[in-house]
């Protein structure tokens, strides 16, 4: 039963100390996400959706609460173990692509494998990932030689290359025009269908959210239950 849930979060809170003031970003969020599900996280700015994504993506630890990602109790892990989890279980896609400017598409996609330790056929796997996003003829191009859509495809390939349990996309189409944005979203949904990778999209665009199987609405650090 528990094997079906890739994300099991119970009563997550997160407080930030801003000088004298304590800011509450998450006030007790619980959520469950099934393996292979496509989930959108929506909410106005300041609602805590970025914080939630950071915690679900193991970039940050919650102040309190329990979080089990693909069977691992994340809140008990140290820095190195967190880095390892991010490397093996999470793929990130950012609004601003975040590619290394001086490195080729192949090099960028290979990067997570290089932090993974001893992985055979790094180049081969990176090439396969690039092929799966339709960039097999852009392998040795640098990000500056690629269009925005192509750059985001490289980022998607990078997120996929280590076969993660979940892909976290933070406003993946925010920097793209609507046509290219639609293509990128299509690509993500196709990959979800073909590979069964869980997809979590943080967005404030209702059109994108409508493509998800489920929407989690956040407001003031809490999940709004009434949708």
């Amino acid at each position: 039963m528990a094997k079906d849930w890739v994300i099991l979060a119970n009563d997550l809170t997160k407080y930030y100390q801003m000088g004298e003031v304590e800011v509450r970003a998450l006030a007790g969020v619980s959520c469950k996400i099934k393996r292979g599900e496509v989930v959108a996280i929506m909410g106005p700015s300041g609602s805590g959706k970025s914080t939630l994504m950071n915690i679900l993506g193991c970039l940050d630890l919650p102040t309190s609460g329990k979080y089990i990602l693909d069977g691992e109790a994340v809140e008990t892990l140290n820095d190195n173990q967190l880095a390892d989890i991010r490397n093996r279980k999470v793929g990130f896609i950012f609004q601003s692509f975040n590619l290394l400017a001086r490195t080729t598409a192949l090099g960028n996609v290979e990067l997570p494998l290089r932090y993974a330790g001893k992985v055979p056929n790094k180049k081969e796997r990176a090439r396969t990932a690039l092929e799966s996003v339709g960039l097999e003829d852009r392998i040795s191009h640098r990000p500056t030689e690629l269009s925005g859509g192509e750059q985001q495809r490289v980022a998607i390939a990078r997120a996929l290359v280590n076969n993660p349990a979940i892909i976290m996309a933070d406003e993946p189409t925010g920097n793209l025009d609507s046509k290219v944005g639609k293509e990128i979203l299509e690509l993500l949904l196709t990959l979800n269908r073909d590979k069964g990778t869980t997809l979590i999209i943080v967005t404030h665009d209702p059109v994108i959210a409508a493509q998800a199987q489920r929407i989690i609405h956040l407001r003031d650090g809490l999940v709004e239950e009434n949708i």
């Binding site: 993506g57 940050d60 820095d79 975040n98 290394l100 990067l111 997570p112 932090y115």
Partner: protein, 409 residues
């Protein structure tokens, strides 16, 4: 992460910022270049000095009055009697010859020319000990010595100055301190020695110098005794014999000696100590510029860490551990210093070469020597500088929180 790949990546990163990397490297180049050049010059000076000392013969002993290490009251002067006692083959079987020396400075004149030279009064043995050879004429003879002769052997520098020629000067008369002396021999040039030029000197019989030129308070007092041992191996034995004889004659069989015996090896070790200190001193001063270069590395690495905060955040999001980031930045800083170090070695070699050329042009041939040790030392030291000054920036990069680093604009 694989080290080879990290090095390639670091070089690519540095290559992306050519001017900045170049200027940072320049700081190390100057530092390492200065250290290498100074060590080379120090080594060259040491080689030249020890070479000059080695040239004075390995079987010579120098005896002088007084004690350079401990204080003695009323040291007795060395006398001609001491010289004769040491020359006794039964008392000192390992001593081949003894030459007493008295030295002073006097004005000499000839043909309206005047110059101030070192005047040495000694015995015929001296010429053999010093390995002198003649351009013309003869060395001083025993007859000259016993006859209190007004004979003089002159150095080539003296001939140049007084006669403007180096042939046919034997038979000429020169005046030392106003008294006429007949030139009997002209020495071949030996060049500048460690103890001043040997070309600008005149040598007269000991007896003549003692009675007419150089006055000493005690009867038959000499400044120094040159003692030649029968062989290089016999130097320690000869030293003991000389000491034994002098202790007896000076009535200091127990207690502190009132004379000092120096061998060439002693001179050599003193000269090496002095030039060694000199080299360390020069190298230390040059090391300061290397330190400044290191601070340059640290500065630029700190800028780089700030500039690449987002990149660091991204790498952490992709699974880089603290250690990975730390190693990445340490490799970058040590690449900077290693490249600088290698170019610096070339620069140092070039500087040493120039100094050698200048020295040769000004008449003091001198070979700056770059040893393999100096190169290894400079390479390792520059690498260490890069690592040391890279640690703080790299630590700062590795300690960044991924969330905050990713959010950084």
């Amino acid at each position: 992460m694989n080290i080879g790949q990290s090095i390639i990546e670091a070089l690519e990163t540095l290559n992306g910022n050519k001017l900045r990397s170049g200027l940072t490297i320049l700081g190390i180049v100057i530092g390492v270049g200065a250290v290498i050049a100074m060590l080379a010059i120090g080594q060259g000076a040491q080689d030249t000095i020890t070479g000059a000392i080695s040239g004075i013969g390995t079987n010579l002993l120098f005896v002088s009055s007084g004690n350079q290490i401990q204080e003695v009251r009323n040291p007795k002067p060395l006398t001609l009697g001491d010289a004769q006692a040491i020359a006794d083959p039964f008392a000192a079987p390992d001593v081949l010859a003894v030459a007493p020396i008295i030295q002073g400075r006097d004005d000499i004149t000839a043909g309206g020319q005047t110059m101030s030279v070192s005047v040495t009064g000694t015995t015929p043995e001296y010429f053999i000990m010093q390995n002198y050879s003649l351009l013309e004429g003869d060395f001083l003879t025993l007859d000259n010595l016993q006859g209190n002769a007004s004979a003089v052997v002159i150095g080539p520098g003296v001939a140049d100055k007084l006669f403007s020629r180096r042939n046919g000067v034997v038979g000429e008369t020169i005046r030392i301190n106003g008294q006429p002396f007949r030139v009997v021999g002209l020495l071949q040039s030996k060049g500048g020695g460690t103890f001043g030029s040997q070309d600008n000197q005149v040598i007269v019989p000991f007896t003549t110098a003692q009675t007419r030129l150089i006055h000493r308070s005690a009867l038959n007092e000499v400044d120094q005794l040159y003692v030649q041992a029968v062989s290089t191996q016999a130097v320690p034995l000869a030293t003991d014999e000389v000491k034994q004889i002098l202790r007896q004659r000076h009535r200091t069989p127990v207690g502190v000696d009132d004379f000092t015996v120096f061998s060439q090896a002693d001179f050599l070790s003193i000269a090496q100590t002095v030039t060694g200190v000199f080299t360390i001193f020069l190298g230390g001063i040059a090391g300061i510029s290397l330190l400044v270069g290191g601070i340059g590395i640290m500065n630029i690495m700190l800028v780089s860490v700030t500039e690449r905060t987002r990149e660091i955040g991204l790498r952490k999001a992709l699974g880089a551990r603290k250690r990975d980031i730390l190693i990445q930045f340490l490799i970058e800083s040590s690449m900077l210093s290693l490249i600088g170090g290698m170019i610096g070695i070339l620069l140092g070699w070039f500087l040493g070469f120039i100094v050698g050329r200048i020295a040769a042009a000004s008449g003091n041939p001198f070979n700056p020597a770059i040893s393999l040790n100096a190169i290894l030392l400079a390479t390792l030291f520059s690498l260490a500088v890069g690592l040391f000054f890279g640690i703080y920036p790299a630590n700062r990069a590795a300690g960044l929180e991924p969330v905050e680093a990713l959010r950084y604009e």
